[in-house]
C-alpha cells in the first residue's frame, strides 16, 4: 500500500520545497512574497518529519510500540498519566514555545531574510528537533527522568554538576534578557506601561475568582480576563493621550528595570494561586491564540519582504548585534532552530504523559518543527517591515543618534532610504512618541504584527491597538516566565547552598525562601540593570550571552545523546546526534573566543573594558557614559561578562571531555552498557 501514489506524493512535496527554496535563494534585487517562505518551510518540515524524524525513531532510538512507557508503568493519575497524543502535543508545545523564537529571528533580520531562514529550516531538522526528540526518547526509557539525572547516570556525577551549574546560570541570563526585552518595550511608553501594569490586578482578580468564587473554572475566568485585558489596552490609549495621567506611567529604562526587579521579588513570594497561576493560564491561551492569529494574518495579507535577502551586515558591522554571520547568526537564533532549554522540558513532564513510545515522534520532533514555524513567522513579520523602520527601531542611539533627523540620515547612508517623516508617521500610527532604538525584538515584532493585522482588519486607529496588543501579549508571558523562573531559580539555589548550609534547604521555611529569592532576584536583576543602562542598548551584550548559554546546554544534551547511542552499540548512527553536537560546540567556542579575544570593543568584552579603562586613566569621559563612576561600572560589567563567557566555554569543554571519555570506555565493552530500564511489554503491568 506504500504505493506508487505515496511515492509520487512525496516527490511533489520535495519538488515544491525545492522550487520555493530556489525562489527564496535566487531572487535578488526585487522583493519576494512571504508565502514562498511559508511554503518552503512547510515542505522542508514535512519531509524532515516523514523521513529524518522517522529514521531516528526506528533506527537510532528504536522506539518500540509494544514497550510500556513510564506513564503506563507508574500511572498515578496525577504526574504519570497515559494521555492522548494530541493533548500531550499541546502541553509540550505550550511549554517549549516562549519569547525566544519571537525575538532571535527579529534580531537576526539585520543580515537579511535569507541567512536566518536557512538556519531555522535546516537547523531545526538536523539539530533542534533531533535534540528534543532524542532527549524525550532517552527519558522515556528511564522512567521519565530529568536531563541532570540522565547525565549523572550515563556520564558520571561531575557531568551532572556541570549541567546543574549550566542550567542555573542559563536561567539567570534568560530571566535578565527577557526582562530587558520588556523594559525596552515599555520605556517612555505610557500606553504600554499602563496596559501591562493592569495585568497584575486582573490576574489577582482571576486568582480570587478561581480560588473562592468558582473553583477551577479556568475557561470562564480566562474569558473574563481576556475581556479585561482588551479593555486595558483601550484604557492605555486614553491614559497616554491624557496630559495629566500620562506622566505617571512614563518611565525610563532604568526606572522600569527597578520596577521589574521589585515585581519579580514580590510576585515570586506570593502564593501561586493569587498571581502566578491565573496569569500563566491567561498568557498561555493568549500565546497560542496570537500565534494562530499571526499565521492567519500572514496567509491572508501575503506581505512582500522589504528587507533584502542578504544585507551588508553579514560582515559583522551590523548595528543590532556585533559579529560575523559565522558564528553569531547561529548564536542569535537559538530558540526556533535549536534550544538547549527544550531538553529540560523533554525530560520533564512530557515523558510522563506519553501513552506509547511511537507517539514521541509527533510530540518531540513535531513539536519543535511547529516552534520553528513560529520563528519563521517572526522573521517574516520583521522583514516585511520597511528596512529603514527596522533599523531605526533596532539600532542603539550610539549608531543613529537620538532624534529622527540623525536617525534617518544615518540609516539612509547604510542604503535603506527613509525620511524623518516616515519615522514620525510610524510612531504616530502605533500611538507612541518615538520608535527609535527600541531594540529587543518585541517592539519590532509588534509593529510588524500590527501592520499584518491591520492589512486584514483595517480601521482608523487600529494600528495602535494591534501594536499594544502585541506588546501586551509578549510582556504578559515574559513576566510570567520571570515570576516562575525566579521560583525555580530559588529552589535550585536552595538545593545548591543547602549542600553547605542545610538549614537553608527547607523550601517551606520563610527565612530560607526570602533569602534565596532575594539572592536569585539580585543575580538576574544585576544583569537586567546593567542591560538597561548599557551604552550599546543592553540587548547587544546580553543576547549573545544568552545564545551562547542556550547552545551550550543544547550541546550538552546532544553529547548525552551521542554517549547513549555509543553505549547501545549503535555507532552506525552516531552521526545523527554528533553532527549537531559538533556544530554547536564549534559555534559556542568560536563565539566565546571572539567575545573574549576580539580587539574590537564592539565585539570583545575585554576590549570594550580596556577602551573605557584607558579613557579613565586619561581622565577623559567617553560617550555615552556621563561620569567616571559610570565608566568604571562599564569596565567592571565587561569583565564580568567576559568571565561568564569563559565559564560557558569551560562547561562546554568539560562536557566534551566527559562525553568522549565515556564513549571510548563504552566502545571497549563488548555489550551494550546504557542504563535503560528493563523492557516491560505494554499491558503486562496492568
Amino acid at each position: 500500500m506504500d504505493s506508487v501514489a505515496a511515492k509520487i506524493g512525496w516527490l511533489v512535496v520535495a519538488a515544491i520545497g525545492a522550487i520555493c527554496l530556489g525562489v527564496i535563494a535566487l531572487h535578488r534585487g526585487e522583493s519576494i512574497n512571504a508565502i514562498w517562505l511559508v511554503a518552503a518551510a512547510l515542505s522542508v518540515f514535512t519531509i524532515g518529519y516523514r523521513f529524518y524524524g522517522r529514521m531516528i525513531a526506528t533506527q537510532v532510538l528504536k522506539l518500540d510500540p509494544t514497550r510500556a512507557t513510564p506513564a503506563q508503568l507508574r500511572n498515578d493519575g496525577l504526574d504519570y498519566v497515559p494521555t492522548d497524543k494530541w493533548i500531550v502535543f499541546g502541553h509540550h508545545f505550550a511549554a517549549i514555545a516562549g519569547a525566544g523564537p519571537l525575538v532571535g529571528p527579529v534580531l537576526a533580520a539585520q543580515m537579511g531574510y535569507l541567512p536566518g531562514t536557512l538556519w531555522i529550516l535546516f537547523g531545526v531538522v538536523f539539530a533542534g528537533a533531533v535534540q528534543d526528540f532524542m532527549i524525550l526518547g532517552l527519558s522515556l526509557r528511564r522512567d521519565g527522568r530529568s536531563l541532570g539525572h540522565m547525565l549523572r547516570a550515563e556520564l558520571g556525577n561531575v557531568a551532572g554538576v556541570i549541567c546543574m551549574i549550566g542550567v542555573l546560570v542559563l536561567m539567570m541570563i534568560v530571566l535578565a534578557v527577557l526582562a530587558l526585552v520588556v523594559v525596552k518595550a515599555l520605556a517612555i511608553s505610557p500606553w504600554g506601561t499602563f496596559t501591562v501594569a493592569c495585568t497584575i490586578p486582573i490576574a489577582i482578580l482571576m486568582g480570587v475568582y478561581l480560588r473562592y468564587l468558582r473553583p477551577g473554572r479556568v475557561l470562564e475566568v480566562s474569558i473574563i480576563g481576556l475581556v479585561l485585558l482588551l479593555l486595558s489596552i483601550w484604557g492605555g490609549g486614553v491614559i497616554a493621550a491624557d496630559p495629566l495621567w500620562a506622566p505617571y506611567f512614563t518611565f525610563s529604562a532604568s526606572q522600569l528595570a527597578w520596577l521589574v526587579i521589585g515585581y519579580g521579588f514580590f510576585a515570586s513570594v506570593l502564593p501561586v494561586w493569587l498571581l502566578l497561576a491565573p496569569r500563566d493560564y491567561l498568557s498561555t491561551f493568549l500565546k497560542i491564540g496570537t500565534i494562530a492569529l499571526l499565521a492567519i494574518a500572514i496567509l491572508f495579507s501575503a506581505p512582500y519582504l522589504q528587507m533584502p535577502a542578504i544585507t551588508q551586515f553579514v560582515d559583522g558591522s551590523g548595528p543590532v548585534f556585533a559579529g560575523n554571520l559565522f558564528p553569531f547568526l547561529f548564536i542569535t537564533i537559538a530558540c526556533g532552530a535549536v534550544s538547549g532549554w527544550h531538553s529540560i522540558i523533554a525530560s520533564g513532564t512530557t515523558p510522563k504523559l506519553l501513552a506509547n513510545e511511537r507517539e514521541a515522534l509527533l510530540v518531540g520532533y513535531g513539536g519543535m518543527l511547529v516552534e520553528a514555524f513560529v520563528a519563521i513567522m517572526a522573521l517574516i513579520a520583521a522583514t516585511a517591515l520597511h528596512p529603514g523602520i527596522y533599523f531605526a527601531m533596532n539600532s542603539p542611539a550610539a549608531a543613529i543618534g537620538a532624534d529622527v533627523q540623525s536617525a534617518a540620515a544615518a540609516i539612509s547612508q547604510w542604503g535603506f532610504v527613509v525620511t524623518p517623516q516616515d519615522l514620525l508617521d510610524t510612531a504616530r500610527n502605533i500611538g507612541e512618541t518615538t520608535i527609535l532604538s527600541r531594540a529587543g525584538g518585541a517592539p519590532t515584532l509588534a509593529v510588524g504584527m500590527a501592520q499584518l493585522l491591520h492589512n486584514i482588519m483595517p480601521g482608523e486607529g487600529m494600528m495602535a491597538f494591534w501594536y499594544h496588543y502585541a506588546i501586551l501579549f509578549e510582556a504578559l508571558f515574559i513576566l510570567t516566565t520571570v515570576d516562575a523562573g525566579t521560583r525555580v531559580g530559588r529552589f535550585m539555589i536552595q538545593e545548591l547552598v543547602g549542600l553547605a548550609v542545610p538549614a537553608l534547604q527547607k523550601t517551606e521555611s520563610w527565612t530560607g525562601n526570602l533569602i534565596a529569592t532575594a539572592f536569585c532576584v539580585a543575580i538576574w536583576g544585576y544583569f537586567l540593570y546593567q542591560g538597561a543602562v548599557d551604552p550599546l542598548g543592553g540587548i547587544n551584550t546580553l543576547w549573545p550571552l544568552f545564545g551562547i548559554a542556550n547552545q551550550m546546554l543544547a550541546a550538552i544534551a546532544l553529547i548525552l545523546s551521542c554517549v547513549v547511542v555509543v553505549k547501545l552499540k549503535r555507532e552506525r548512527y552516531l552521526w545523527v546526534p554528533a553532527i549537531p553536537a559538533c556544530w554547536l560546540v564549534i559555534c559556542t567556542l568560536t563565539a566565546g573566543w571572539q567575545k573574549l579575544f576580539d580587539a574590537s570593543p564592539k565585539l570583545g568584552f575585554p576590549a570594550a573594558a580596556k577602551k573605557f579603562a584607558d579613557a579613565i586613566a586619561e581622565n577623559k569621559i567617553t560617550a555615552p557614559a556621563k561620569s567616571i563612576a559610570e565608566m568604571q561600572r562599564i569596565v567592571f560589567n565587561n569583565y564580568l561578562d567576559a568571565a561568564l563567557t569563559g565559564l560557558f566555554m569551560l562547561l562546554v569543554i568539560a562536557a566534551v571531555f566527559f562525553g568522549v571519555r565515556t564513549m571510548l570506555a563504552a566502545r571497549r565493552l563488548s555489550r551494550p552498557s546504557a542504563n535503560e530500564e528493563p523492557y516491560i511489554a505494554l499491558g503486562a503491568s496492568a
Binding site: 502541553h91 516562549g98 519569547a99 520533564g348
Partner: protein, 67 residues
C-alpha cells in the same frame, strides 16, 4: 443531525482537555477512575480540592517553561 451534535461535543471536550493539560491540570474524571480502581479506601477529592492541589504542585520546584 444528532451525530453532528455528538461530534461537536466530542471535539469540544477534547479541546477543553487539551486546554487543561496545557496549563498543567490533569483530567479529573481520569484521576477519580484511577482512585476507584486502585485505592478504593481513599476519599475522593472534590474538583476544587483536586484543582488547588494540582495548581500548587505545578509550580513547585522544576517543571517550568522555555524562554
Amino acid at each position: 443531525m444528532n451525530a453532528a451534535v455528538n461530534d461537536l461535543r466530542t471535539f469540544w471536550q477534547r479541546a477543553v482537555r487539551i486546554g487543561r493539560q496545557i496549563i498543567g491540570v490533569p483530567d479529573y474524571e481520569n484521576y477519580l477512575a484511577h482512585l476507584r480502581a486502585h485505592h478504593p479506601e481513599r476519599a475522593l477529592p472534590s474538583y476544587a480540592e483536586f484543582f488547588n492541589e494540582r495548581q500548587e504542585a505545578r509550580y513547585k520546584g522544576g517543571g517550568g517553561r522555555c524562554c
